[in-house]
């Protein structure tokens, strides 16, 4: 069973509330959901929509075609009529005009009835969401009573939890005992900041919004130097500004973890949409040559795990860790029954100011931490940085999951992908004869990648960017060029059915 529901309306009309109510009920009712959020860079008006996908098995993507269309306004019908399946259902917001601000609640009720969810489940959810719920329940009932049940969903055993990539970063950071998150707002990274800020007193951490990303990254280094577990986060444009601080990290070796959530560039690009186009800058930003780690989780559970790993490794190797995500992973709402692996716990044991005399510098330094221009020390220190990277590689290859293999493991067809595309790929290949190699660590790369590609007869690269950045990285590290590429770069993520058709045509 898999259903795809498009819920559209103007910004401010409350499409997210409709989705939230129904998705919460469905998860409690035992179903898995995936919600894709498509919204414009404006506060009120325009056209926003969610695609809520429901299944009785784990899903991590949405489809283009809708079984149900919930339209809070007329524009939604116009825009999405083509996407509605032949016998699809339309639920019109117009019929609940009198509900005014509760239009969204009425529509949630209508949708619940269409799906065949008992009224009681709806009432429980409304009560848990609204302090003064009497009016809300009336609106929900009105919606509920207006519809016929079309899909008779039965209650299932599972109870998945809903999680976005942003929430997952916050959970991972909290699991690792984060002290400080210093940032400047930028979509789609800001939700991590908001999430951590919410309970900062309770969690004994500080979320500090500073004057710009240059300050954020340099402050983060100052705080980390002082002995705090520190993170900063931004999107591509802010990351560009942080470039100099990345380089300072390289020479000063003060631990630094950065959350980079991409959106389509160049420039301001398409700010509320998605792209996997910043792998290159994650790998290379910052002048000079110095070690770093780049990890790209593909769903919220992996994001929790990898955020903790990033913080752990930054401290252990006094290095730069980058958690690479994008709008699609950060803001889509996944539901899952899996539990994240145990967090690698750590304490700061290096010498810190206040207790010891510690000197870190943006200059090449001697053993006292003072500046040097010596050619021998310049070479020695450079070698030490490269040795550190080799140690990091060895440690990571031994201790952490750097790739995942999904699908038919014996297949001679191989999809190679990473990050937020992974969900759509996993869902697309369910009934196909292919395996999927998901790259989690982009730096260092797993040695397994070369072996897997060499074993396969037919290799297809799938990414949301125009130049195939992971493909280029693999070519650089292995000498293998992946000729077959499925690249999408219109700001929208892959739909699983779209990807399935494309892959079918290539295997």
């Amino acid at each position: 069973m898999k259903l795809n529901i498009i819920i559209g309306g103007k910004a401010g009309q409350g499409i997210n509330k409709v989705t939230e109510i129904v998705a919460n009920i469905l998860n409690k009712y035992g179903y898995f959901t995936f919600n894709y959020r498509d919204y414009q860079s404006l506060i009120q008006g325009g056209h926003n929509f969610n695609t809520l996908c429901i299944a009785d098995f784990q899903i991590e993507s949405h489809n283009a075609k809708a079984d149900i269309l919930v339209a809070l306004d007329g524009r939604t019908i116009k825009t999405h009529k083509q996407a509605l399946k032949k016998n699809g259902t339309i639920i019109l917001g117009d019929q609940f005009k009198n509900e005014k601000r509760n239009l969204n609640i009425a529509l949630a009720g209508a949708l619940a009835k269409t799906l065949g969810i008992p009224l009681q489940e709806l009432e429980t959810e409304i009560k848990s969401q609204f302090k003064k719920s009497a009016k809300a329940i009336l609106s929900a009932k009105k919606g509920y009573e207006s519809q016929k049940t079309i899909y008779k969903l039965k209650k299932l055993k599972d109870s998945p939890l809903i999680l976005s990539g942003s929430k997952a970063v916050a959970i991972g950071a909290k699991n690792s005992g984060l002290d400080l998150y210093i940032a400047y707002p930028m979509t789609p990274a800001t939700n991590v900041m908001n999430e951590l800020a919410k309970n900062q007193i309770k969690n004994n951490l500080i979320v500090f919004q500073c004057e710009n990303e240059i300050a954020a990254a340099n402050m983060a280094l100052g705080a980390s130097f002082a002995g705090a577990k520190t993170m900063t986060g931004t999107s591509g444009g802010g990351f560009d500004l942080m470039g100099e601080a990345l380089s300072l990290q390289g020479i000063s070796e003060i631990p630094l973890t950065i959350y980079l959530a991409s959106r389509p560039g160049p420039g301001t690009g398409v700010p509320t949409y998605t792209a996997q186009s910043d792998l290159d800058i994650a790998l290379r930003a910052g002048h000079g040559e110095f070690p770093r780690i780049v990890i790209a989780p593909g769903n919220p559970i992996e994001t929790i795990e990898k955020t903790s790993e990033a913080l752990f490794l930054a401290e252990k190797f006094r290095t730069l860790s980058i958690i690479l995500s994008d709008k699609h992973l950060a803001e889509s709402e996944f539901s899952s029954i899996s539990k994240p692996a145990k967090t690698p716990a750590f304490k700061i044991t290096r010498p810190i100011p206040g207790e010891d005399l510690v000197k870190n510098s943006s200059y090449e330094t001697d053993k006292f931490g003072n500046s040097t221009e010596s050619y021998t020390l310049t070479e020695t220190n450079t070698n030490a940085r490269m040795k550190k990277y080799n140690d990091m590689k060895k440690y990571i290859r031994k201790n952490f999951e750097m790739i995942k293999i999904h699908g038919n493991k014996k297949s001679k067809n191989l999809i190679v992908g990473w990050g937020s595309s992974s969900g759509a790929i996993k869902d697309a290949i369910k009934d196909l004869d292919t395996k999927f190699l998901q790259v989690l660590y982009c730096k260092p790369l797993s040695l397994q990648i070369k072996k897997e590609i060499e074993k396969a007869d037919n290799v297809i690269l799938v990414e949301c960017n125009v130049t195939g950045q992971l493909g280029r990285l693999i070519r650089e590290k292995t000498g293998i060029k992946i000729e077959n590429r499925l690249l999408k770069y219109n700001g929208r993520p892959f739909h699983s059915n779209e990807l399935k058709n494309l892959i079918e045509g290539m295997i």
Partner: protein, 267 residues
């Protein structure tokens, strides 16, 4: 107690006032450490990039030799990471007034309990004398052979407008005055900003020798008086007086007091 000096070779020009600033810092901190008020390890410094910043190598203190323009945010980060550190930031007029101007303005707003010691010689000297925001009109250098067209910025006025809680000015040739001002600045609860009027013996020598214009004022806490004092020196003309001393001091909640999470960590 460890000595405040290091083994590093001093590469400032002979006779550069930076030597006297270094001596004043050492005298100030030695007194604070010997009085038992602070341990040597309680201090952390950040330095920018430029001649002034070489002080990093000459002081046996914890710290970060920062990127150009970023000594202030890095220092504020230190305070966020450990509010009990006694943080001193050294920056030049190029560093803080050009590359790092946004941080300079915001530092007053955050009001972290730390001290900014700003070496103002009205020139980017380490990079061979290009003009800075406080260079006087007409200053001719390799990068500005036609002379500086613009009027200089008045950082004291900017600091006042940015709600600074401590603004002082001192003279790099006057060690006792520097020690007095540094001591008061470190004792101030909040962000203390000290501008040191300093000669460069090699570049922008026309801006040098302003001692005759300088005079000492009494510690001031009146904002209107402060504004008057700030206007006395425009960084441009050879006439006009240059007031030295505490131009303005007030009490406002500090960064460490405003954030409950930091307040609980304060010793």
């Amino acid at each position: 107690m460890k000595n405040l000096s290091t083994q590093a070779e001093n590469t400032w020009c002979p006779g550069c006032p930076n030597h006297m600033i270094l001596e004043s810092v050492k005298q100030t901190l030695t007194k604070l450490i010997e009085s038992g008020k602070h341990k040597q390890t309680d201090f952390a410094i950040t330095t920018d990039i430029g001649c002034h910043a070489k002080i990093f190598d000459y002081l046996n203190l914890s710290g970060i030799y920062c990127l150009h323009g970023r000594a202030i945010p890095t220092a504020i980060g230190m305070k966020l990471g450990n509010p009990n550190l006694k943080v001193l930031t050294f920056a030049g007029d190029g560093a803080a007034y050009a590359e790092g101007i946004s941080h300079f303005i915001h530092a007053f707003k955050y009001n972290a309990d730390m001290t900014l010691i700003l070496h103002d010689n009205q020139s980017f000297s380490l990079t061979t004398g290009q003009p800075t925001p406080t260079s006087q009109q007409g200053y001719i250098s390799k990068s500005a052979p036609l002379g500086v067209f613009d009027k200089p910025m008045n950082p004291i006025k900017l600091a006042l407008a940015s709600n600074a809680t401590f603004i002082a000015r001192t003279n790099a040739r006057d060690i006792p005055h520097m020690v007095e001002i540094f001591t008061k600045a470190i004792a101030h609860k909040g962000f203390s900003f000290i501008e040191i009027i300093q000669d460069c013996l090699v570049f922008n020598i026309n801006a040098n020798n302003k001692d005759k214009q300088m005079y000492k004022i009494k510690d001031n806490t009146n904002k209107q008086t402060a504004e008057k004092l700030a206007n006395e020196f425009d960084y441009n003309s050879k006439s006009g007086k240059i007031p030295l001393g505490i131009i303005y001091q007030s009490k406002e909640p500090t960064l460490e007091e405003k954030w409950p999470q930091l307040k609980t960590k304060l010793k």
